[in-house]
Symmetry: C2
Subunit: 381 residues, 2 copies
């Protein structure tokens, strides 16, 4: 049995997630219990420093050098705080798994730039300030091995969520939608994982533009509108949907410029209809991914939805309707797991695997040449 | 017994030094034998990329992300090459100690920048390509512990060069002069180490300006000139010489602007006299450091000189004359140790110490709050 903290600082730049967990067993019999969870928010000054360091024009070596240490201090604070909240003496924590803050990802060779990825949040600072061993910087080894360095969460999903009797799809709906398919009684090399297309990205941006709202709460706006078939047809012709997995997408394909284009072209559509239509696009792009790339080879028994999109009732209902009744659709919370703590928990698990000298990348998912041990180990004493 | 490779990529940006060593014993009885040594030169393109990444105006996050991986590939090449030269199967190497390339050092808090240091040369790339465990990134933990992150070599000098019966000073004469004082039969906490002032920096720059030569070979020019006492007096009044150790200096105090000032003020002095005078300044600044900060508390039995300055016979003779006859002056080679491989060897030793879970910083030397284990451990399999 070990006590660990997983740390995740995401692309939203909101703050750092810290999950305090108890890990029982090891290898394939590993079990994890969430003791407590916090998200330690970044203040505006720190957010500005991160924004500078991820911007080509504003970043420089001095800012990156300093921010690496400053984020390390913040990560240490998050560890201390989640331990206090969970009433866990800090000396009882065996290790920390820290993802770090991604400040650049260079997926492909380009001119004299090589494939590479860069996460910061100095583990030495975390280790010195907490007195705890840190495993960090998980993505670099997969990239060194010829992979994309992502996604890394599927292996921990396999450890936690695989089932003896059910083919499960874990559908995450964040800004982008992505899935992990865990066949019943399957081995790690049978896992599939890829991006399905837009998650909340289009819906949220359209809500801001049309209603001045951050998002469509509970999917109420979508529920009140009608589908515009012309627009839906145009959306569903997006070339990303037909690409063979493994595949990834992002803001460059479904961000502001794309939605602005739709808003302009379909400006005559009632606002609520626009929201319902992009919600249906999101639902269909997810379901088409199953129909195109999973169901031809295998049944799906259960779809478990996590991420902010799990709270959009209209979206979930659409996914259910599009799928038909044979497949059970549920949220991660209904299955008994925390959706918000999921990624932070994943990096506690990956750290545990690394400390047992075992690989945790999935070459079939990341494109790496072979399984490798992820992360670097840092200890002050 | 273990076989290791130490890697050092210095501030000269010439290339990466790789020392293949055999390490016997552990802890205080450790012994090291150099099997082979190479310096793998950087091509001009790579040098330009490094120069961009250390420059405030030209550096950015994308260049740093890529260069981190590219240097990792070069470091892996250096390991493979030194093993070939030393006829050592790469599978026989137990570990690599890699210093990395320093691209920024922020010694003090300044506005919203925190004390920090940044070395790159991705250890995951080195570990994946060589199949060898890598210990890297030694300076960050000392900085995390409140230290300057430098100098780190003194602990390995203590392990290798301390003597039961002799108080030894190791005087390195690179661009800057720096010393390590190892009292006879002394413990790590009795080590002193600090910069003495200019090394070859002033002599080399003046040779370029006055003679179009890269340096004063064997000190022949200095040997042919006379001392100008006025200029020597002015040089010796430099405030750095009186500062109490631990202290560090660099190009900002003894670089081009300083020498240009001297050349302008003392333009009437014959060229060879100028070279002899700055050589004497270098010699006296070194000897004054002993007289001011070592000899008041303890005798010195032996001074062992390393670095490029060890080949400047005029300089060595001046140091001997200034010291008098009681103190033996010799070069590192005369003691039986390679001068060029010294730093690369040091990082193989520091890696060995880290893998034995022992600290290797010297708080009295770096200013750290306490001894800490340096470096991060990375292994692909």
């Amino acid at each position: 049995m070990s006590i660990a903290v997983g740390l995740m600082s995401g692309t939203s730049l909101d703050g750092v997630d810290a999950a305090l967990v108890e890990i029982k067993g090891e290898g394939e019999t590993l079990q994890v219990e969430l003791i407590d969870f916090i998200c330690l928010a970044y203040d505006e000054g720190l957010k500005d420093e991160i924004r500078d360091c991820i911007a080509l024009e504003k970043s420089n070596v001095q800012k990156i050098c300093s921010l690496n240490f400053k984020l390390g201090m913040k990560f240490a604070d998050a560890v201390i705080e989640v331990c206090q909240k969970g009433k866990m003496p800090i000396g009882s924590v065996d290790f920390i798994g820290s993802h770090g803050q991604t400040i650049w990802h260079q997926p492909k060779q380009e001119a004299n730039l090589v494939s590479s990825t860069l996460q910061i949040g100095e583990p030495s600072v975390v280790a010195f300030r907490t007195g705890i061993k840190v495993v960090s910087n998980f993505r670099v080894m997969d990239v060194a091995a010829g992979g994309q360095g992502a996604p890394l969460v599927p292996y921990s999903e396999w450890l936690l969520y695989r089932d003896q009797n059910k083919n499960r799809v874990f559908q995450n709906i964040g800004g982008i939608g992505n899935l992990t398919y865990l066949p019943k009684n399957g081995q790690p090399n049978e896992i599939q994982a890829f991006d399905t297309g837009p998650g909340n990205m289009i819906i949220d941006y359209a809500c801001q533009k049309l209603f001045g709202l951050q998002f469509d709460e509970d999917g109420k706006i979508a529920a009140s509108g009608k589908i515009n078939q012309d627009m839906l047809k145009e959306c569903m012709s997006h070339p990303f949907l037909l690409k063979n997995p493994p595949k990834t997408t992002g803001r460059e394909e479904f961000g502001a410029p794309y939605v602005d284009g739709l808003l302009k072209k379909f400006s005559s559509i009632p606002k609520a209809d626009f929201i319902r239509t992009v919600t249906m696009f999101t639902a269909q792009s997810i379901v088409e991914a199953y129909k195109g790339f999973i169901l031809p080879k295998s049944d799906i028994d259960q779809i478990i939805i996590g991420g902010g999109g799990a709270y959009n009732k209209a979206l979930i209902k659409m996914i259910q309707n599009e799928l038909g009744t044979d497949i059970e659709v549920m949220t991660q919370e209904e299955l008994g797991y925390s959706s918000e703590a999921k990624e932070a928990i994943a990096f506690a698990i990956l750290a545990h695997v690394t400390l047992h000298h075992l690989p945790s990348n999935l070459p079939g998912v990341t494109g790496a040449l072979k399984p490798v041990i992820l992360g670097q180990i840092t200890s002050a004493s």
